[in-house]
């Protein structure tokens, strides 16, 4: 058990570290200008000049993937932070205070949940206009209801545990009980959800880009690199492989780190 925990933590941290390093490096150096068009060398196969090849406009895939890491990573991180923070607050309130607070929150929550997330984000983007900020906002709103549901469910079961009642007998206020006893015990499932959200956000951003309301070209994201590579799947497979691998590796890292974090949050992991 402990060995698995460490493997998770080490490998996860290594992969996420690699992702951060690539992003950092992208600020100071990329092999080429990520948006410079070179129509003399379109769809060049990976080689010495272009390590990961070039796309249909002759842009260097490696440089674009490095810049894409920054944009995709920032969007995903923003979405996860916003939806988890808000979701925690709303879910805690609904689960802990119950009664009408819970009723009102859950009716609204279920109303939002009734729309497909991507449709909702699409509509919001249409209203807000394209920008990174509105992209993060739109996706956060789309994912918020599931976070609220998970937090609330977990709070509902913790609320019934006797140590919560013990806190009342000790004379603690409700807010103190909520923050000191309920919140920490409600975190583990949220951590797992948050790591999944990270992946969903990257993919959802690509879907929105594909529909023309995501990050506008020529700025690269892993998502829009992937969708623009689709027509060239047979002639230039490296165009899909590069961003695909980037997504896969970073998701693996984030998920492993999430698992490790969950284990670490579990008091039983201490010896």
């Amino acid at each position: 058990m402990r060995r698995r925990l460490q493997a998770n933590a080490v490998l996860g941290a290594a992969l996420v570290g690699l992702l951060l390093a690539v992003i950092a490096l992208g600020f100071v150096w990329t092999p080429y200008d990520p948006i410079a068009i070179d129509l003399d060398h379109p769809l060049a196969a990976p080689g010495l000049a272009h390590w990961l090849g070039t796309d249909e406009f002759g842009r260097d895939v490696l440089s674009r993937a490095m810049l894409g890491a920054r944009i995709s990573g920032a969007i995903a991180a923003g979405v996860v932070t916003a939806s988890v923070t808000l979701g925690l607050a709303i879910g805690l309130a609904a689960g802990f205070f119950g009664r009408w607070v819970d009723r009102v929150i859950m009716v609204l929550n279920d109303a939002v949940l009734a729309f497909p997330g991507i449709l909702l984000a699409l509509a919001l983007m249409a209203v807000l206009g394209p920008s990174y900020g509105s992209l993060i906002l739109a996706l956060s709103v789309a994912y918020l209801p599931s976070v609220v549901r998970v937090v609330r469910a977990s709070v509902l079961s913790i609320r019934e545990r006797e140590f919560v009642e013990a806190s009342r007998v000790a004379g603690d206020g409700r807010l103190y009980t909520l923050l000191r006893h309920v919140l920490p015990n409600a975190l583990p499932p949220v951590v797992v959800l948050a790591t999944s959200l990270f992946g969903w956000a990257i993919l959802a951003e690509s879907a929105l880009s594909f529909l023309g309301v995501g990050v506008p070209p020529p700025a690269p994201t892993w998502g829009n690199m992937l969708s623009s590579a689709r027509p060239y799947m047979e002639r230039a497979e490296w165009l899909s492989i590069a961003p695909g691998l980037c997504i896969a590796i970073s998701l693996l890292g984030v998920n492993m780190l999430g698992d490790a974090l969950r284990d670490w949050l579990d008091p039983r992991s201490e010896t």
């Binding site: 006797e162 009642e165 806190s167 007998v169 000790a170 004379g171 006893h181 039983r268």
Partner: protein
């Protein structure tokens, strides 16, 4: 002497991934004759459940039989192929488990679940299966067997479910019935019903019974022979009565000595102004919310009055659903009253202002039943115990730490401040809960079944600790329990609660020696720990 039905020889069970550790069960040998009632007694970790499960080959993952043999008649069960073993299960060896709440499938009707075994093991027409199921349900005294067949498990109480479980096992007329703590989850009265039924039906069908239990009371009342296990080792084996009356092994002696019993003399309590008064209390639970509106509230406590004097131990006794836990919560202001009043030290709880309420919280504490759920798994023991002191402005942090240290010393857990709950045993955790309750030097402690989740010997330790602290600090105590043995040992007075009302009250000796109400009489007759204590004294 007839040939034994079941012969277990030199059975050894160990954890498959750690054979170097001491085995979970070592060198267990015993016989069960046809129709005989044998009990295996032990505390948690004694290996008693493993012994039971190994017979039909149902050991959990990660645990394996490392040696020994199990014969049913002359067939060696351990060597059987999975196919052949499946034919033995149910057909020849039936098993009843501890948790009636989870051992029936909630998604299937009772009828389907009863018929399952018959369909597997016998060729019968549907009408015949139905007839046999109805007959069996009648024999386990289910009121309306026809309706029961098409009902789902959640429609029945724990005791009824356990009877249905029993019916489904006995339908196949097994020759050996293994019952693993079959009544531990039930209250005293249903426990007695289920046990009596089991004994009666087994006797009628000539079924041998192997009872796995921690409860010496059940052994005293029902078993002919007993095997006593401690940490996987057989410490004593013999006729039940002899083992209980004259135990040879020190462990068995300790087990028998840990049974609660009436003290020779009770110190008289000062009778002053009552510290706590409950006047004509009625408590409702809100009705279930349906599609439209809410069902009317359900009254669980009705017109209950009780008093607790300063320094007095008063027991509230009742079966599950009697409302005793609810009263304990109401006394602490955790549950509001629909009618009536709770008065603490002359002040009505409902009328207290913030300052008074804060003071009340320091003076009234609670010990819970389940030591696994009452401690925050993320909080260190020192913080948990110190929690009630957080609202005492007169204490400096150093004084607070000193109080916590003192409280932990009091419960013999000195130096445990930095531990986490999961690093401790159930008994240790319950002592932590008691330390938390006494750290603020309360005048009233409500103890809700504080020992019923604990093993016998641990129960003894905790009870003694509780009495010692009570004598030392002189707090009054409202002791909520279903265990009459414990009441007889520690309570000065008691209230008997049935269906939300007090049916009898009085001094402990008076009520125990001449109970007036029929319900009290039934409770006393069903109390297993008193039974065993009586046997072992005789």
């Amino acid at each position: 002497m007839t040939a034994p039905l079941l012969r277990v020889r030199n059975l050894r069970i160990e954890a498959s991934n750690a054979p170097e550790r001491p085995p979970l069960l070592a060198d267990l040998s015993f016989d069960v004759a046809p129709g005989e009632f044998v009990a295996i007694v032990g505390e948690s970790g004694s290996g008693k459940t493993m012994a039971a499960r190994s017979i039909p080959g149902l050991l959990p993952l990660g645990v394996r039989r490392a040696g020994g043999s199990i014969f049913l008649d002359d067939r060696e069960l351990t060597g059987l192929a999975p196919e052949a073993l499946r034919a033995v299960r149910g057909r020849e060896v039936g098993m009843v488990f501890q948790e009636p709440m989870v051992s029936l499938n909630p998604a299937l009707t009772i009828g389907r679940q009863l018929a399952e075994g018959l369909k597997l093991h016998e060729r019968l027409r549907d009408s015949e299966i139905r007839a046999r199921c109805l007959e069996m349900l009648r024999r386990v005294q289910i009121a309306d067997p026809e309706r029961c067949l098409s009902a789902y498990p959640h429609e029945f109480s724990g005791g009824m479910r356990q009877r249905i479980m029993l019916a489904s096992v006995l339908l196949l007329k097994p020759r050996l019935l293994i019952a693993d703590e079959p009544t531990t989850a039930l209250d005293t009265l249903s426990q007695r019903e289920v046990m009596e039924l089991m004994v009666e039906l087994a006797a009628q069908a000539g079924t041998a019974v192997l009872l796995i239990t921690h409860d010496l009371g059940l052994v005293a009342r029902y078993a002919r022979r007993v095997v006593v296990l401690e940490k996987g080792l057989t410490v004593e084996i013999g006729a039940a009565r002899e083992v209980l009356v004259a135990p040879h092994h020190p462990y068995t002696q300790r087990l028998v000595a840990s049974l609660p019993r009436r003290p020779a003399a009770r110190a008289p309590r000062p009778s002053g102004r009552p510290l706590l008064e409950v006047r004509q209390a009625a408590i409702d639970y809100p009705g279930k919310t349906g599609l439209v509106g809410r069902a009317p509230p359900k009254r669980v406590v009705n017109g209950v009055s009780l008093t607790v004097g300063t320094g007095e131990i008063v027991a509230v006794v009742g079966g599950s659903g009697s409302g005793k836990t609810t009263i304990g919560r109401a006394v602490l202001g955790l549950k509001s009253l629909a009618e009536g009043a709770v008065v603490f030290d002359g002040v009505e709880l409902a009328g207290m202002d913030r300052r008074q309420l804060r003071q009340f919280r320091r003076q009234a504490q609670l010990v819970f039943q389940d030591p696994y759920s009452s401690l925050d798994p993320r909080m260190r023991i020192g913080d948990t115990v110190g929690a009630p002191l957080r609202h005492n402005p007169d204490l400096t942090p150093a004084a607070r730490r000193e109080r916590v240290r003192q409280a932990l010393e009091d419960v013999s857990l000195g130096g445990f401040e930095d531990r986490l709950p999961h690093e401790m045993s159930g008994g240790q955790r319950q002592r932590v809960a008691i330390a938390r309750a006494v750290v603020s030097r309360p005048r009233l402690v409500v103890a809700d079944e504080p020992v019923s989740a604990l093993d016998m010997t641990i129960q003894r330790q905790v009870l003694e600790l509780f009495q010692r602290l009570q004598a030392q600090y002189g707090f009054a105590c409202l002791f909520i329990t279903h265990d009459l043995g414990v009441v007889e040992e520690i309570a000065d007075r008691l209230y008997v609660l049935a269906a939300g009302s007090v049916v009898e009250e009085g001094a402990t000796e008076a009520v125990f020696d001449s109970p007036r109400h029929a319900y009290t009489q039934a409770l006393l007759a069903a109390a297993p720990s008193r039974m065993a204590a009586a046997v072992s004294v005789a």
